[in-house]
């Protein structure tokens, strides 16, 4: 990464740009209270845009997971605003959040989190049905998504019979179920060897470029930067820099 163009998203107002899918405004998060309080995140502002791959980097404990958890509507911020679908969703409770998450986010994890008892096809099908109980032809969609991530011939395999890279592809297919515009991953390549990690990241890059999805990935691996449009550096709970990175691919 060279010639980083650093700027702060906080210069923008709360009103989202036209291609904005989600927006965090002045987010703060403090865990616990009193003398046990930990300020995990302060004053974080970030815009998530269609077609962009955003990498989030920073030392352990800097607040990366907290940041994407708040973005993914899994965690309520202590202060600031979360905008999704053009609406401020900050104060919404557990009645509204599952639906918003299902419509807007797909998640991928370091540990894949696939049901070991279910085949690739069943894992994806079940997720589609869970997100939307009225989904039509969930199985057909699951097949299509597994094809898309290159797992076509192995849809009837159990996770135990798949390699790490293949498992992560199944998890990505699952995240794509219901066609959410934003994919969020917390170190999704950390458990994979370099070659596999790069090919998984390449897949995520492709998904962003071809379908206009936003991909937000936490990583420790600077080699992934070449797939990114932006790199967000987090340190001590502050967004230190947001660097445009695509220019050097």
């Amino acid at each position: 990464m060279t010639a980083a163009l650093a700027f702060s998203d906080s210069l923008l107002g709360p009103a989202p740009a036209p291609d904005s899918l989600a927006r965090l405004v002045n987010i703060g998060k403090t865990y616990g209270t009193g003398e046990h309080a930990v300020a995990a995140l302060s004053n974080a502002t970030l815009d998530i845009r269609r077609g962009e791959v955003t990498l989030i980097e920073g030392p352990s404990g800097s607040g990366k997971t907290t940041l994407i958890s708040i973005l993914g509507l899994l965690l309520t911020p202590t202060s600031g605003e979360v905008w999704i679908e053009g609406k401020n969703v900050t104060g919404l409770g557990e009645r509204a959040l599952p639906g918003l998450r299902a419509r807007n986010f797909g998640f991928v994890f370091q540990g894949f989190n696939l049901f070991p008892a279910l085949t690739a096809l069943e894992n994806v099908t079940m997720a589609i049905q869970m997100k939307d109980p009225r989904a039509k032809d969930a199985k057909g969609e699951a097949r299509r998504l597994l094809d898309l991530v290159g797992l076509g011939p192995r849809i009837h395999h159990l996770p135990a019979d798949l390699s790490g890279g293949q498992k992560q592809r199944v998890a990505i297919a699952r995240a794509l179920g219901g066609n959410p515009p934003i994919l969020v991953g917390d170190e999704p390549t950390a458990a994979l060897d370099t070659k596999t990690a790069l090919s998984v990241m390449e897949l995520l890059r492709e998904l962003a470029s071809t379908s206009g999805r936003a991909v937000v990935v936490v990583t420790h691996d600077p080699r992934l930067e070449r797939f990114a449009d932006r790199v967000v550096r987090v340190e001590d709970g502050f967004i230190q820099s947001i660097t445009s990175a695509r220019s050097n691919v």
Binding site: T65, I68, S69, G72, L74, L75, E94, P98, G99, L100, R101, A102, R103, F105, G106, F107, F109, Q110, G111, N113, L114, F115, P116, A117, L118, E122, M126, A127, Q129, M130, K131, P133, R174, A175, G177, G178, D186
Partner: protein, 377 residues
Amino acid sequence: MWTLARKLLLHDRLRFAVAIAGVSVSVMLVLVQVGLYFGFMDTASAVIDASRADIWVGKKSNDSFEFATPLDERSYYKVASVPGVERAERVLINFAQFKLANGGDLGAQIVGVDNQPGYKPMLAPWNVIAGDARRLTEPGAIAVDRSEYPKLGIDRVGHVTEVSGVRAEVVALTSGIRSFTTSPIVFTDIRTARSFMPQLGTESVTYVLVKVAPGQRVADVQARINALPHLAAYTRSEMSSRTRSYWSSRTGVGAGFFTTAVLGIIVGFVVVGQILYSGTLQYIREYGTLKAMGARNSAVVKVILSQAMISAALGFAVGAPLAMGMRAAMKGANLTVALSPELYAVTFVITAVMCAFAALLSIVKVLRLDPASVFKS
């Protein structure tokens, strides 16, 4: 939901087998214990239930069917002349010494019935498998049950013995007529019965059985008989349930069987609860992932409840045949396990409720599960 539940449950075969074993043992215990209880109760009221009387009349002070104070012939005539009574018959029930082949004596419950010429008696031995119950009118003729062979040593018609020192000849063998008190039931004519119990005199009667005239309401006739001094009239089903509850509360037999049945339920509850909970813990990340993806709590709870219901259904499917096997095995020991469709139905519901409650801990666990936990390593 069902597919996921079934696959999660079946994935660990050993754990699944333990869950099904737990439920089926619990189902079997409930069926066998409650079935034994009803079997005993059926035995307690068998003679009453087998009668064709509309009303049983006895002395007001009676509380037990077997140990009843005798009436006399006048009571019988009074009852017979109550308006609305079509016909009345006498029954004499008491204990007498039955002489065994080895020279010993055994207390037997003598049931003397009223064989009136031209009428089939309202109470008579049933399930006759050998001989002829109509010969009971002959002096000294008795009918005994084949299942009492180990006690009485009688397995054929024509066997001659003594009851209270009076000559008695077996003219009929029955099958499956047993008493709650475990004393063999010996059917005979009321005249022979009186000769077996000289101490009661020649006019004693324990019960008067009543057939109500056509067009008359049983309750009306019952009320008229109850208006007579010292007499209490019960419909056949009232008499039956009085006897059942007498023996049930008197012996505490109900408490014993139900305690074991409840223990069975507790065992099933604990086993299924443990299995479901360990499965829930094993898949907690995946459940968290479902919640993070936007699955509603209700959907995740359904996955767990479905596993509980599958365990209940399969446990019942295994436990019910086990109970039937136990019933067959216990028949050899002269124990009746009364398994009715109603008992199966109630047991199935109890099993489902038990499994649902066993799932509660798991349900609370996934309800409390913070979807943000998926990103915690």
